[in-house]
């Protein structure tokens, strides 16, 4: 894997070198194009004020959103005011057509590319083996995130704002409540799951016993695993803690305080 690291480092260095060369002959009239620029071909930027004529409420509240912290005010550079079009793409054709959903405009709820242009590490997550079906178009970024909201972790039509409420929308069976809860649920679903994508089944952060032991392993003599005062040394050799009836009810149990079944 060292070879892979070296290859990656060399590649990154190579790209930066090429860029350094390109900078030396940079065209000062070029514009730092907004990420949405290539999403609507043939369209020009209309500007935030034009968008506000029809989308007054969203435009007014934009300053209160988390995304607004990436916006830099600079009156000398008009492209800075391409707040809406940074994600939705240039909107001139949309304006000419009189508006309408999907009419010459990017709807990030249908097109994750609008989000991936800034969140490329998230895009890479969705290329791993296990992921929510975003690349297949069966869910959208806005099913879990509200880009216009003050809380980015809330879907648009959510009733209150807790991150796990987002997961509960589709995974109620795992959300409880339970007679005997697993306290890990208080730390949030993302303690154990990578919601965007993972190399592990069920989007697990880790597939092996380390996932449990990092919270539950007690000090023991070398060569043994002690959990709750009981030796689990032979148990952990068999596989993950939640296998074969031991602690199958990882989210919580209605029948056993040790989360068996």
């Amino acid at each position: 894997m060292k070879r892979m690291k070296t290859t990656f480092a060399c590649f990154a260095l190579g790209v930066l070198t090429v860029l350094a060369f390109l900078f030396s002959c940079a065209d000062q009239s070029s514009m730092l194009a907004s990420p949405g620029a290539r999403l609507v071909s043939g369209a020009d930027y209309a500007g935030r004020e034009t968008c506000a004529l029809c989308h007054a409420e969203i435009s007014k509240e934009f300053g209160q959103t988390l995304h607004a912290r990436m916006h830099m005010s600079d009156p000398e550079r008009q492209e800075r005011d391409l707040v809406c079009e940074a994600c939705h793409g240039p909107g001139s054709l949309h304006v000419e057509a009189g508006g309408g959903r999907d009419v010459s405009i990017v709807d990030p709820s249908d097109n994750p590319l609008a989000c991936f242009q800034c969140h490329s590490s998230v895009q890479a997550r969705f290329m791993q083996k296990f992921k929510h079906p975003l690349p297949q178009g069966r869910v959208g970024c806005m099913d879990c995130h509200d880009p216009h909201g003050r809380n980015i972790f809330s879907p648009v039509d959510r009733i209150m704002s807790s991150r796990d409420e987002v997961c509960r929308q589709c995974h109620q069976e795992q959300s409880g409540p339970y007679v005997f809860e697993h306290e890990a649920l208080r730390e949030g679903c993302t303690s154990c799951h990578n919601p965007h994508g993972s190399i592990n089944e069920k989007l697990l952060v880790q597939r092996d016993t380390n996932l449990c032991l990092r919270c539950h392993a007690q000090i023991a003599s070398p060569g043994s695993v002690l959990i709750g005062g009981f030796s689990h040394t032979s148990r952990v050799a068999q596989g993950a803690c939640w296998s074969s009836g031991c602690h199958t009810a990882v989210h919580g149990s209605n029948i056993n305080s040790h989360l068996r079944y």
Binding site: S120, Q136, E181, R207, A237, S244, S257
Partner: protein, 660 residues
């Protein structure tokens, strides 16, 4: 039945469109598509990775329609229907400006699961398959109506029926034993039959610049699941099955009332109150066959009651901008009570082989109170830059009473008082000193502390309340440099360092020990390159360097988690002429964290690679007609399990897009 419902909806939309008299030229498009997928190797693994079946898949890849019925009324329809892959979606909307709207739709898709379990090379039979097509149908039907009359309260009422039906795999595998050695590798699965009926309503109105909003939501949830586990003894040629039936029914009512207003030109305030009530009941049944060995269990519970109530009140203020400074702050309080009650029978065979059948009565009562504060500041006074800092603090107190009786004798009596605190801080900046350069960086710290006080505990040492205190700390440092030296090239390079440590005090030692840690270095490179007007190239590369430890590193069965995950996505599109485009993309994902500890444990880490190549040619046949042919190659290869899940797959497809 579901397909019939789909066809009915499509027909309905067609009738609406054709029957309305074609007042104006409609605008829409339709894209029939046919694909043929062939898989060599593990078909179920392919299905799970790419959410698609092999074989023939055809239908409408998309259709959409927008038609102005008159000057104020419009009809919109969109969706897709791909037969062979059970992938359908239709959404119809009829709206009249300043009057209201009616919206309805249906969607269904399938999630596929691999039916193999784990892999253990030393066994005579190293892996097992269920020989089942594990498929879960996930769908919903919805109907929504709204009133948007000017100067009247805005109203919205919606009904939604969601369902999941089918079978899914589980990662909790059954034991396989050979020569006295057991490893959990036998695949397990679960039958799922789940429905949710959701009624939501919303009313918005502005009175004297105060925006008032009330949202309610009622949910009825029904779930019947059956978990199938199996254990195998390879020496004796015997197997044992455990079947767990669970059913659950619950009603959940939630309501939020909120008000928002601009107190002055630069001060915004909001106040909200949330109430929810959950009432649920469930039952549990377990059957072990054959039922004759020590520790075999046939537990059952015919009455499980769960109730939860929650109140939440919050107040938020935002002020600014005052000379480039914007301030925000909020405070919220939540009170949650949860009661659980189980009555059942723990029928099982004891250590000595004797049958035990205690009646169990378990009651839990949880009372949680939480206070949350948040504060944020954003400064845009520096030229071409934004600075920000945010903080969030949570203090929570949870009282938990647990009482479990077996045949009237107390088996567990515990009272736990948990003090829980959480603090999150984030600060960062974004700057663009020259047109071609943007730099953003942030630092984030998250600190959680759980302090458990077991005032009463009938099991004073050990299971299950053996954790007395736990700290979880995460530090994250991130930076992203975006460059656009020329209009035709844009690139960004991002780095993120995440360090998580878990420190715990256990009941057998008063000192705080580092029980776990997780470190990740994440590098992402993104390049978009358009050297000539008819060629577009892009590349996204990401590399995760991960290390994770838990305390018990002296045991060979538990090995540190060390992993390299490399993901790359490259795409190119080339316009051969004004009407013809050739495109190609390549995805590569490589994982290498495998360690062979089969002598002492079950190897669960990975050494594998997943690749996909897609290419296609599209041609504009006329102003309104476009045709695309495509070919995809998929390949998965895993060294960690000697290739038992390997596959290669080929897809050929043709799609025609027609604008009308």
């Amino acid at each position: 039945m579901k397909k019939a419902r789909m066809i009915l909806l499509i027909s309905l939309s067609g009738l609406i469109w054709f029957g309305r008299g074609l007042a104006e030229e409609p605008r829409g498009s339709v894209a029939p598509e046919y694909t043929l997928i062939g898989v060599e190797g593990d078909e179920s693994q392919f299905r799970e990775h790419f959410w698609t079946r092999e074989g023939s898949i055809g239908g409408l890849e998309r259709f959409n329609l927008k038609d102005d019925l008159d000057k104020k009324t419009s009809f919109e329809g969109r969706g897709h229907a791909l037969f062979g892959n059970d992938d359908y979606e239709i959404e119809l909307k009829l709206s009249r400006k300043d009057t209201g709207f009616l919206r309805g739709g249906f969607s269904e898709y399938s999630k596929y699961f691999d039916d193999s379990g784990g892999f253990f090379e030393p066994f005579a039979e190293s892996s097992f398959d269920l020989n089942r097509d594990l498929e879960l149908n996930i769908g919903k039907f919805f109907l929504e109506a709204g009133v948007t009359l000017p100067d009247w309260p805005k109203l919205r009422l919606a009904y939604e029926h969601r369902y999941k039906d089918g079978e899914k795999s589980l990662t909790g595998w059954g034991a396989v034993t050979q020569s006295g050695m057991s490893r959990n590798i036998f695949p397990t699965f679960k039958d799922v039959d789940e429905t949710r009926d959701i009624l939501t309503g919303e009313i918005d109105h502005t009175v004297h610049k105060v925006k008032l909003q009330d949202r309610f939501r009622y949910e009825h949830f029904e779930s019947d699941t059956t978990r199938h586990e199996e254990s195998r003894d390879l020496d004796a040629g015997e197997s044992e099955s455990v079947t767990v039936d669970e059913s659950q029914s619950s009603d959940n009512f939630l309501n939020t009332f909120s008000s928002e207003m601009n107190i002055s030109e630069s001060v915004y305030a909001s106040l909200g109150y949330f109430y929810s009530q959950y009432e649920g009941d469930a039952d549990f049944g377990m059957l072990t066959l054959p039922f004759n060995e020590p520790f075999d269990k046939n537990w059952s519970a015919s009455m499980i009651d769960l109730d939860q109530k929650s109140h939440l009140l919050n107040l938020n203020l935002m002020a600014g901008p005052y000379k480039d400074v914007r301030l925000s702050g909020g405070i919220g309080s939540e009170w949650v009570t949860t009661k659980g009650d189980t009555k059942g029978q723990l029928r099982g065979i004891g250590f000595g082989g004797n049958l035990e059948e205690p009646a169990v009565d378990a009651e839990t009562d949880r009372d949680g109170r939480e206070l949350e504060e948040n504060l944020g500041i954003r400064y845009t006074g520096l030229p071409k830059s934004t600075l920000y800092a945010e903080g969030r603090w949570i203090q929570e107190d949870i009282d938990l009473q647990e009482l479990e009786r077996e045949d009237q004798s107390v088996a567990l009596d515990r009272s736990t008082d948990t003090d829980r605190t959480e603090a999150r801080y984030k600060t960062g900046f974004s700057t663009s000193p020259i047109r071609q350069v943007t730099l953003a960086a942030h630092y984030k710290r998250e600190q959680k502390n759980n302090d458990y006080d077991h005032a009463t505990d009938s099991v004073p040492a050990g299971y299950s309340a053996f954790i007395l205190e736990q700290d979880i700390s995460t530090d994250e440092l991130g930076a992203k440099l975006s460059l656009q030296p020329k209009s035709w090239i844009r690139t960004s390079f991002a780095y993120r360092l995440v360090e998580t440590t878990i420190d715990t005090v256990f009941d057998n030692d008063p000192s705080k020990v580092s029980s776990g840690d997780y470190d990740a270095h994440i590098y992402t490179l993104d390049v978009t390159f358009t050297p000539v007007s008819n060629l577009f190239l892009s590349l996204v590369q990401s590399y995760w360097d991960i290390q994770g430890d838990s305390y018990d590193q002296s045991v060979d069965a538990v090995i540190p988690y060390e992993g390299d995950v490399f993901t790359s996505f490259a795409s190119a599109s080339y316009a051969l002429d004004e009407k013809t485009e050739l495109w190609l993309d390549y995805t590569y994902s490589r994982t290498n964290n495998f360690k062979d500890n089969a002598d002492s444990g079950l190897p669960l880490l990975l050494d594998d690679r997943l690749q996909r190549v897609r290419t296609g040619l599209s041609r504009q046949l006329s102003d309104r007609l476009e045709m695309e042919v495509s070919y995809h190659l998929y390949e998965y290869a895993g060294e960690h399990n000697k290739g038992i899940n390997d596959y290669s797959a080929h897809l050929v497809g043709v799609k025609i897009s027609l604008d009308f």
